[in-house]
């Protein structure tokens, strides 16, 4: 079963001479449990594709289906509900809420989904233990290293057991040691059967995926299966 299904997806910015085709008519099927890496040079439309898949941007053309539900025509409210339950995001810049502790950052999506504070705390504790940050739960983001912040972001993305995790350059701001920490985490997710779509410049990250799509000028130019 496909968790994500995309048909003729396009995103254009500007008009006439200034027209930019960020994503230019791509088709994509992502089955449940697959780890997909999208690679390409800067500005080729990788991040835009990820935003379109997660309903953070509206496409100019085409369809996006998430778990059998069409999301490109859904209302903002419906999209918000979908993101709560079905999508987890990991960003290159972490995007943690600066005034909340690591644990509270992980609790936030659980609370937004309607769980009780007690359930949210329990879930956050469990996830922070899984990413090896149980002892840093009460720290504010700025007191954490880059790798730790990204691990909190991963924990937050997993908070509501999403159908798919969308990761945008998850190691782009990290040094080698921190990258290795995150890669180990992603390998664990893959082993657990978590559907994961990540865009990256980093060949080491891409090498951990089941499938690699190369992207150029908004289009897919190569689709390779890596895993046996």
């Amino acid at each position: 079963m496909n968790v994500l299904q995309v048909r003729g997806l396009a995103k254009r910015h500007g008009q006439k001479q200034s027209l930019v085709r960020a994503v230019d008519g791509v088709d994509l099927d992502v089955p449940a449990g697959q780890t997909l890496a999208v690679m390409g040079p800067s500005g080729c439309g990788k991040s835009t594709l990820l935003h379109l898949l997660g309903g953070l941007e509206r496409p100019s053309d085409g369809e996006v289906w998430l778990a059998g539900e069409r999301i490109d025509t859904a209302s903002e409210r419906a999209l918000a509900r979908l993101r709560r339950r079905s999508v987890g995001f990991v960003f290159q810049a972490f995007h943690l809420v600066e005034e909340l502790s690591a644990a509270e950052n992980v609790e936030l999506p659980v609370l937004l989904a309607g769980s009780s504070p007690r359930q949210a705390r329990r879930r956050a504790r469990l996830l922070l233990e899984q990413v090896g940050l149980a002892d840093r739960a009460r720290h504010l983001p700025w007191k954490l290293s880059g790798g730790e912040r990204q691990r909190v972001a991963v924990a937050r993305a997993l908070a509501n057991e999403p159908l798919v995790v969308l990761a945008d350059e998850p190691t782009g701001n990290l040094d080698t040691a921190a990258t290795n920490e995150v890669l180990r985490l992603f390998a664990h997710l893959r082993a657990e059967g978590q559907t994961l779509v990540m865009v990256t410049h980093d060949g080491r990250v891409a090498a951990t995926a089941d499938r690699l799509i190369s992207m150029r000028d908004g289009m897919f130019v190569e689709d390779t299966w890596l895993a046996s």
Binding site: S47, T48, H51, G54, L56, E57, E76, R77, A80, R81, L82, R83, R84, R85, F89, F91, Q92, A93, H95, L96, V97, E98, E99, L100, S101, E104, E107, L108, P109, L111, L112, A113, P117, A120, L140, P141, W142, R156, N160
Partner: protein, 580 residues
């Protein structure tokens, strides 16, 4: 916003600071322009004994000269098609004498068959040159509108009733003396009046001691007739009564508005702090000293504050004549703002600007260049209990409470600003709930100028408070929205709906609004009790429930606009902008 806030506060504050002593200044100006008497003396009738008593005052202590005695009649004036009103008709010469030469603001001095009406009275009854009026049943045209310093301002022209009884409110009419024979032939009550010029106008006390003010004095008797005397100082003081209620309104209103200006400006400055901090970083990189950086940051706000102050002073200058001369009985062309008032309001405006920008400037100057250049330099080091409590609440409250937890100072400013507005609204409601009591003119009730003046000023100050409060609420919500756009965008990626974001931002303003509104009510009641009339009629305190209701509803509506605008922004664009 900054210019508007400071301009309104400066205008009200400068008007408030101009009120003390302004009537005396206007009276002195009018007195100089009309050769006003130093003492006005009245005898209870027009008998030879009374007239003789008045003329004998030329020999009284300190008196240098007197006018001739005039007769004045207690009559009624009926404007065409309107009810009659009580007037004092003074019989005068066609050519005014050396003491009391009323200044014509329109038309000309009395002529046979034509009368002149005192300006304050003419304004109140809406009389103009050329109008026909009936006095004691006879018709006369109005040939002029004049101003004098020989009487208390409208409606105090009577200065003692017939037979030296209590006086009623009345307007003043000058009539050519031969025309008063018709009045004399009727049975109208009358008195005699004379104007005195002293050797030393400031030393009217000698005269008053002789006749009125000590145990050994004549007790008001001059010969066989009782004489009632009024010094120019007494008249000036009485004229100031109209403004006495206005002064606390303007002064306290001015300070409340100044506080709102500070609150609004601080929010604006905080909203711009991130940009300012980056500017400081760039300046440091190119070698600017801390002193130069502080000057750069302060200059912008100082220039705006001084410009706004100037604008406020111009507005105050334009409004001043109608506020400081409510009766219109005095010449108001000398009613400009004094140098001291201009200096004081400018100091306040500059102080507001410095207070506003000092904190961000000091923080920016103290930070190192690399920190100031980095996007995320503002990182709170504490978490307040509010943040934890918020986890127990529905999503909008959770988001709103966490916004407050991050900016407690702004919440306090909003609370105090709301309290200031609630004070204004409470006082306004209390005053408006009291019945308007006009002045009885023996046939028609005309507006009570002092009461009207207070109500109008209170209305104006309240309107200014509400206007600034509206602007502040919009500014605070917008600034909070701008500062929290990244947080809110993240919340949306985590599944918060636009509606929850909108309500979260609104809640961040509404939570401090309620305690602010509730705190403002007792403060407003206290001010009303302290400065209001000693025995006010029963007040409709049940109206006070409207204050928090109106403020909460107003804030909800006002915050919904900028909050909704933020909530509808593209999440992807916001996040990209944050990482750019």
């Amino acid at each position: 916003m900054l210019v508007l806030s400071v301009a309104v506060a400066s205008a009200v504050l400068s008007l408030g600071m101009s009120l003390p002593g302004v009537t005396e200044r206007l009276y002195l100006h009018t007195r100089a322009a009309t050769a006003g008497p130093d003492v006005v003396a009245l005898a209870p009738d027009d008998s030879p004994v009374a007239t003789s008593a008045l003329t004998s005052l030329v020999d009284a202590p300190g008196v240098a000269a007197t006018s001739r005695p005039y007769k004045q009649f207690w009559a009624t004036l009926t404007p065409r098609g309107r009810p009659e009103v009580r007037v004092v008709v003074l019989g005068v010469d066609r050519k005014p004498g050396p003491i009391d030469r009323p200044l014509m603001v329109s038309g000309e001095w009395v002529s046979p068959g034509g009368v002149v009406v005192e300006k304050g009275f003419a304004t109140a009854v809406d009389l103009r040159v050329g109008d026909q009026v009936a006095i004691a049943g006879r018709s006369y045209p109005i040939v002029g509108i004049g101003v004098t310093a020989a009487r208390m301002a409208y409606p105090g022209a009577m200065m003692g009733g017939p037979g030296n009884g209590p006086s009623d409110r009345a307007g003043l009419v000058w009539m050519n003396e031969p025309d008063t024979r018709a009045l004399a032939a009727s049975d109208l009550p009358r008195t005699s009046i004379i104007y005195l010029r002293m050797h030393d106008p400031a030393a009217t006390s000698k005269y008053m001691i002789s006749y009125h003010e000590t145990r050994n004095s004549a007790g008001g008797f001059v010969g066989d007739s009782f004489v009632n005397s009024f010094t120019w100082q007494f008249i000036a003081n009485e004229d100031g009564r109209h403004l006495r209620d206005s002064q606390p309104i303007m002064i306290i209103g001015g300070w409340l508005l100044s506080f709102l200006a500070v609150a609004g400006m601080s929010t604006l400055a905080a909203g711009r702090a991130a940009g300012q901090v980056r500017r400081v970083g760039l300046l440091k990189v190119i070698g600017a000293t801390p002193g130069l950086i502080a000057v750069v940051l302060l200059t912008e706000y100082l220039i705006l504050a001084v410009l706004a102050d100037a604008l406020g002073l111009v507005v105050a200058h334009v409004l001043a004549p109608s506020i400081i001369n409510p009766s219109g009985s005095l010449l108001a062309d000398g009613a400009g703002l004094s140098g001291m008032v201009i200096l004081m309001t400018t100091i306040v405006a500059v102080g507001v600007a410095i207070l506003t920008v000092l904190g961000p400037a000091v923080r920016a100057v103290r930070s190192d260049a690399v920190t100031t250049l980095s996007a995320g330099s503002r990182r709170p080091e504490y978490l307040v209990m509010l943040s934890r409590v918020a986890a127990l609440l529905p999503t909008p409250l959770l988001l709103g409470l966490r916004l407050i937890a991050r900016r407690p100072g702004r919440a306090v400013l909003h609370l105090c600003g709301t309290a200031a507005t609630a004070i204004g609204l409470t006082v306004l409601l209390m005053v408006e709930s009291q019945p308007e009591q006009g002045w009885d003119f023996g046939g028609v009730v005309l507006a009570d100028l002092a009461n009207d003046q207070s109500r109008h000023l209170l209305m104006g100050v309240s309107a200014a408070l509400i206007a600034l409060s509206v602007v502040n609420t919009l500014t605070m919500t917008w600034t909070t929205a701008m500062e929290s756009r990244a947080t809110m965008a993240i919340a949306r990626t985590l599944g918060a709906t636009p509606g929850q974001i909108t309500w979260g931002l609104s809640v961040a303003q509404l939570l401090p609004t309620l305690p602010g509104a509730l705190a403002g009510i007792p403060a407003g009641l206290f001010l009303n009790w302290f400065f209001g009339p000693p025995d006010p009629p029963e007040m409709h305190t049940e109206w006070l429930f409207l204050v928090p209701l109106v403020l909460m509803l107003g804030t909800a509506l006002l915050t919904a606009l900028p909050a909704r605008a933020l909530a509808r922004r593209s999440v992807a664009e916001t996040l990209n902008a944050e990482t750019a």
